[in-house]
């Protein structure tokens, strides 16, 4: 028999019992719908996490100086400056896997424009910092090496600060007072959004590292009272860069083997990976729960197909008498369960996409329907149809035509 013919016969048999066919595939519909919706939610969460880590900067390492130890009480990392400007230069020049390195000296300060003021984080840094954090300049210019050389009183502002101090007024060329010292606004950074923890990246102001040291913070110029940001040459190199920088610093700080580091290095790529791993686990969990319901749907199909074979024993006998081969009968029932399952799978996809959209709208969750997940779901429901349809179909094809014709 022609394949298309088999499909047509199967479709007619299914349409003959519309309600039963629908109830049979309800399991598959719900199963696939659940898979699609769950994975969409999981993928949406993953994409959000990835985006927030990407906004911190790529291939990022952060080096912090060590802790103070006074009378047995340990301060936190960064409480005792151990990193020097020479360390920074050494990292920049001696570690091959480091592309950029920049110090970030930090303090909180009140910024004042002509008629507004705003407390924000003021950082002293160098031009590389913006490369490391893949932070673009929206207007004007960034910091220049010449600004550092001349300790220029220039400032680059984050989006939020611009909004608070200037509103709709063009900030370029305006003067902002930091600790009562006038700085010229030379650039505005592109909006970067929030960190994974909800911190606003755009609420920040950047001045040249040298100017920061002399005009804003003061103190020993030798040490870096802040952190060093490092951009590795590639994602793969981040790990190596971490250990190479650690070895370099231990060497430079003359730490004996076995002695504790007087600095710490955070690998943000690793953190991002861990986060992504977490959401992946979530996605897998959701998908496997949904997969189980798909399996239950398959059992529903098998159940009804077995009933159907028994009910139609006589029909099978007639078909065999007029010349249907066992293979014809096998295919007829197999195609029936396959058609049921695939149709259920497709309705399930529609249901899943719809409910993912509704959830996204209702709870403000990010959802992401991936086409490969859709295809896999439909194919998998087809596989379920074949696997669970095979036993009833085999049973039908092995009927003895004489017995089948006699069946009441």
């Amino acid at each position: 028999m022609i394949p298309l013919e088999t499909f047509r016969v199967a479709l007619r048999a299914l349409l003959r019992n519309k309600l039963r066919s629908f109830l049979t595939v309800l399991g598959i519909i719900i199963g696939v719908g659940a898979v699609i919706a769950m994975v969409a939610i999981g993928e949406g969460a993953k994409a959000e996490v990835e985006a927030s880590f990407a906004s911190m900067g790529s291939n990022l390492l952060i080096v912090m100086s060590g802790s103070t130890k006074s009378g047995g009480a340990h301060g936190g990392f960064g409480s005792m400056p151990t990193l020097t400007g020479d360390d920074l230069r050494a990292i920049r020049n001696e570690v091959p896997t480091v592309r950029y390195a920049a110090a970030q000296l930090r303090t909180s300060a009140q910024l004042m424009s002509e008629d507004q003021n705003w407390a924000t984080q003021v950082s002293g840094t160098s031009p590389e910092y913006f490369q490391i954090r893949s932070w673009k300049i929206e207007r004007g210019r960034g910091l220049l090496d010449s600004d550092l050389d001349s300790s220029a009183k220039v400032v680059v502002l984050g989006r939020t600060v611009v909004d608070k101090l200037f509103g709709a007024v063009d900030p370029l060329g305006q003067t902002v007072r930091i600790k009562n010292i006038p700085f010229e606004v030379v650039g505005v950074l592109a909006a970067k959004g929030q960190s994974a923890m909800g911190q606003d990246y755009d609420d920040a102001a950047f001045v040249p590292q040298t100017t920061f040291g002399t005009k804003i913070q003061g103190g020993l110029q030798k040490f870096i009272s802040g952190t060093i940001f490092i951009g590795a040459t590639s994602a793969d190199a981040t790990q190596r860069a971490e250990s190479q920088v650690a070895n370099l610093l231990r060497d430079r700080h003359r730490l004996q083997p076995g002695a504790e580091d007087d600095f710490s290095i955070r690998n943000l790529t690793e953190m991002a990976d861990a986060q992504a791993e977490g959401t992946r686990t979530l996605t897998t969990l959701l998908a496997s729960i949904a997969g189980v319901s798909l399996l239950v749907g398959g059992i529903g199909i098998m159940n009804i197909m077995l009933v159907s074979v028994t009910e139609r024993t006589r029909e099978i006998g007639v078909r065999m008498a007029v010349g249907a081969t066992p293979l014809d009968i096998l295919l007829q029932f197999l195609v029936e369960s396959l058609t049921l399952a695939i149709a259920g799978g497709m309705v399930g996809v529609a249901l899943g996409v719809f409910s993912a959209g509704r959830l996204a709208a209702r709870f403000g969750w990010a959802t992401l329907v991936r086409p490969d997940v859709v295809i896999i779901s439909v194919v998998f429901s087809g596989v379920v149809g074949v696997v669970f349809g095979l036993y009833p179909a085999r049973k039908a094809s092995r009927l003895d035509p004489i017995e089948a014709l006699r069946f009441e």
């Binding site: 022609i2 078909r319 010349g323 081969t325 293979l327 014709l405």
Partner: protein, 250 residues
């Protein structure tokens, strides 16, 4: 060369520990174009004989040659092919597919024979015309009388232009008038060159065959040739009687 040639055919069913000999070394031949009635009480082996001749079952021993081909050792797939190409079946309970039009019921064997849709439709319409049901092509079995359903079944049997039609008590569920109508059809088919093997327990029906085989206990008891009654004549007489009936009762 005979169309059907059974040689020393036995069929043994095993029911638990008991062996049932449904056929005991039956040798039997039917020439092409013959119209044979097989009679016997239930348990005589006539149904088993029919199943074997109809390639629905295989003999336990002995050989069966159909149109010169040894079919007794063929597998299920090959037997299905023979049933489709060479044979047609008519059953006591019609065995039409429910909720399927007469036309599609008649098309069924052609579908398994791989005949293209257009050709199938044409031949099915032709077969329905032959049994006088052209205008009922789109009726479903439950919209037709028993006689009409059996005509559809006959159309389904003849649509593949088989060499042999096997009919198992085809008139068992019909009244005497429609019985004659169906027998007219079988005699027409026989006259057109199709061999007919008809299983019945009614002597009235067997009278329309040109050869009567009587079975008992798995063996052929008698095998006689006879002058067949003409069904068409009986039908005309019955019609005349029916036309007279109103006056008679008046």
């Amino acid at each position: 060369m005979p169309l059907i040639e059974l040689t020393q055919v036995s069929k043994v069913y095993r029911m638990g520990d008991v062996e049932v000999h449904a056929l005991r070394e039956v040798s039997f031949a039917v020439d092409e174009r013959d119209f044979v009635a097989v009679m016997g009480s239930s348990g005589s082996g006539k149904s088993t004989l029919m199943n074997i001749v109809g390639c629905l079952d295989r003999p336990t021993s002995g050989t069966y040659r159909l149109d010169g081909h040894e079919v007794s050792r063929m597998d299920r797939r090959a037997l299905a092919r023979i049933r489709n190409q060479t044979l047609g079946f008519v059953f006591q309970s019609f065995n039409l597919l429910a909720r399927t039009s007469a036309l599609e019921n008649v098309e069924l064997p052609l579908m398994y024979g791989g005949v293209p849709a257009r050709e199938r439709r044409r031949r099915a319409e032709e077969a329905l015309r032959r049994v006088g049901l052209a205008e009922r092509a789109h009726h479903h079995p439950n919209q037709m009388s028993g006689g009409q359903q059996q005509r559809v079944a006959v159309a389904r049997a003849l649509v593949t232009q088989p060499r042999l039609i096997v009919a198992d008590e085809p008139t068992g569920n019909l009244d005497s008038r429609t019985t004659v109508e169906i027998m007219v059809l079988f005699q027409e088919l026989s006259a057109a060159g199709i061999t007919v093997l008809l299983v019945t327990h009614e002597p009235d029906v067997a009278a329309y065959a040109s050869r009567v085989v009587v079975m008992r206990d798995g063996r052929i008891r008698t095998d006689t040739r006879q002058a067949a009654r003409r069904a068409a004549t009986d039908l005309a007489a019955a019609s005349a009687l029916a036309d007279d009936a109103p006056e008679a009762s008046a």
